[in-house]
């Protein structure tokens, strides 16, 4: 790529085009020409930039300033002010209502890149995770005290509901609503379960929260228990996470000694205690009903839903199941209020998201950033660019439960709704960044191998479908597939997504569907020409 001083993105999805994006684009090119900036500024029409209320949108990098809705007549001012003089064209910025969280974040981080916004990882790495006093010194157990002494259970649920917090375990279900369902049933006892089974390949955010700040989960679960009327909680920790188990064990002990767990917490009459339950290696046990079966000493096979765990959970009783990262947001929300939380992220997906960045980038690792950041930003800012200057081809999101996101969607904001509109999903927060040497057939074969192994075998569409799909992908990668195999594979996609009993089989179909949608020619080359365009597949059976 040519080195330019500024990169200007123009949203050009159907919505934006309908609102004049094409004219804006043409006017931009003309104005840039006449200002003599064509060597320094690149203009790129891109797909959906989200924020439909403010389309057409323009984003100027490296400052990541967003303008919208932009009319052709705004363009001269924008070029003169921002691109020539290098200052933000104030009057043109998208309205604060539309973009508040994002603008707040973008202006906060200007000049200080790469800044992160840390809410759930705020303490990780800064405090001694084995010392409750250190936690208390850093606002620890303040939220629990506030909830138990100044708020009713309904107040707590309302605060979480108003904050707009959505589950970080993959599905994005509103947490306040889930708590309300459990609180409204009058069957007792009730349970709170923290889902720390985290077995998505490429995802280790929950482990870092548990290892770095275990008390935050103890505190959050206790608040949840108070809110819904439960007096017992379980943390289901992935079997491999030995250090996390030890830290949680210590944290629970210390909290009991200090009276944050046990009887009559803060003199409020509320009792709560937490058990740790370790898994024994099974991805499916992350699915909430399989997890419950596993605690009950059975094979981890998902139950039929409905009834949902909110009414029929552990031992058939009402149960809240929340992901670790979801829970870690609870104490800060209770402490600072719902409107504080809404300052981050987007209006439908407030808050931050922890991502793990992996694959062919210069820097891999974990970041916590506001919802709504884009893949382009993640790669450039946090991944420090593609390794060896390679070209970005696709990202595989969310361990295995996400999508294959082609480079054409790298400017789509990563929040639940924008991703859903673009036909992709965030999954659990893993971003596997792949360069152009990655063969989509080979990649999806590896993913299907995962689903094939981890299918619990309870339902036939998933048990047989994942196995058969893996077989076909293997024959594609060996150059022995026929065109009829491609048709079979597409039929399998429908079967998996429509007939599977739980999310495992349903999401197994997603990456296959995605490569047919975005990389069809590359897939068909393996059959029609018997070649692998990237050279990754051995094609040994040809």
């Amino acid at each position: 790529m040519k080195f330019v001083r500024s990169l200007v993105l123009v949203s050009s999805d159907p919505d934006s085009l309908a609102r004049g994006a094409q004219e804006v684009h043409e006017r931009l090119q003309r104005e840039i020409q006449s200002a003599g900036l064509q060597e320094e500024v690149a203009v790129v029409p891109v797909g959906d930039l989200g924020r439909h209320g403010a389309a057409p949108l323009i984003v100027v990098y490296p400052e990541a300033t967003i303008y919208g809705p932009v009319t052709p007549d705004d363009v001269p001012l924008l070029v003169e002010e921002h691109l020539r003089k290098g200052r933000i064209a104030v009057g043109l910025r998208a309205s604060a209502r539309e973009l508040s969280g994002r603008i707040a974040w973008l202006s906060a981080r200007r000049g200080t890149l790469p800044a992160e916004q840390r809410i759930v990882l705020a303490r990780a790495g800064l405090i001694d995770p084995e010392d409750i006093e250190d936690y208390i010194l850093h606002d620890g157990y303040e939220a629990l005290g506030k909830a138990l002494t100044q708020m009713t259970p309904v107040d707590v649920i309302n605060a979480i509901g108003k904050s707009g917090l959505r589950g970080r375990g993959g599905a994005g279900f509103p947490t306040g609503m889930k708590w309300r369902f459990v609180s409204q049933t009058d069957s007792y006892p009730k349970y709170v379960i923290c889902n720390a089974d985290e077995s998505e390949p490429g995802t280790f955010k929950d482990r870092l929260i548990l290892e770095g700040d275990p008390h935050s989960i103890v505190e959050a679960m206790t608040i949840a228990g108070y809110a819904v009327g439960a007096s017992e909680g379980y943390i289901y920790v992935r079997g491999e996470y030995v250090l996390a188990q030890e830290r949680l064990d210590k944290a629970i002990d210390q909290a009991r000694q200090m009276g944050f767990l046990g009887e009559d917490i803060f003199g409020s009459g509320f009792n709560f205690d937490i058990h740790i339950h370790t898994g024994a290696g099974a991805y499916i046990c992350g699915e909430e009903t399989a997890l419950i079966e596993s605690i009950e000493g059975k094979r981890g096979e998902p139950r039929a839903r409905p009834p949902y765990p909110t009414t029929h959970g552990l031992w058939g009783k009402p149960t809240v199941v929340n992901n670790v990262e979801t829970l870690a947001n609870v104490p800060p929300i209770v402490r600072n209020g719902a409107s504080w939380f809404r300052r981050f992220g987007t209006s439908n997906s407030p808050g931050t998201k922890v991502y793990t960045i992996l694959g062919n980038v210069n820097v891999t690792g974990l970041v916590e950033v506001p919802m709504g950041i884009t893949l382009r930003e993640v790669i450039a800012i946090y991944g420090k660019g593609m390794k060896d200057g390679a070209t970005f081809k696709l990202a595989q999101t969310g361990g295995s439960s996400g999508s294959i996101v082609p480079s054409s969607l790298q400017d789509t904001p990563m929040d639940f709704d924008s991703f859903a509109r673009a036909g992709v999903s965030l999954g659990s927060g893993a971003l596997l960044i792949c360069n152009e040497d990655t063969c989509v057939v080979d990649l999806v074969k590896v993913l299907l191998n995962f689903f094939r192994r981890e299918s619990c075998g309870k339902c036939t569409p998933c048990r047989v479908g994942t196995e058969r799909a893996h077989q076909i992908l293997t024959s594609l990668s060996e150059g022995t597939a026929e065109l009829s195999d491609l048709r079979d594979l597409e039929t399998l996609v429908d079967g998996l997504s429509q007939l599977s009993h739980c999310g495992l089989g349903q999401t197994a179909a997603v990456p296959i569907r995605d490569i047919f949608k975005h990389f069809r020619a590359e897939v068909e080359a393996h059959v029609r020409l018997k070649i692998c365009p990237t050279g990754a597949c051995s094609m040994s059976g040809r």
């Binding site: 390949p201 995802t203 280790f204 596993s294 981890g300 992996l358 893993a430 596997l432 590896v446 995962f450």
Partner: protein, 159 residues
Amino acid sequence: MIDGVRDAQGVVSVVQAAVTRHGATAEALVPVLKEINDELGYLPAEALAEVSRLFRMPKGQLMSVASFYHMLSTRPRGRHVIQFCESAPCHVVGGREVWQALQDELNLGPGDTSPDGTWTLVTSSCLGICGVGPVIIVDGDIYGNVVPERVPELLARYA
């Protein structure tokens, strides 16, 4: 590891220690099996018989649970267990070549134990250490950023 020294009585005492720690309620079953497996390297028939007795659970039902979880094994394993991560994040950064190197050294299929009982090679869906792929774990020792050339030297440490 089962080392031949541990007789049937030794196995029973391992089971009883685990049950003392966790109890014999339904929710203790998986943790108890895991602890026995960690202690003995696998779940021998004698151990399952004792668990069945203490939990008052039919052996068939017990087998169906024990065979479900990857971290439990109902077959003896070699003296050293190598876990290879075959997840996508490890795969795209060179996992495939590491697998080939392991094959060149050991010539074992997934789940196989070498005839002399030295090595068991198992594949894992994800070991959860994805930031430093490709990853292999030998007897609990984690090796990240593995390159094929390093494999012979890594294995030699255990031989």
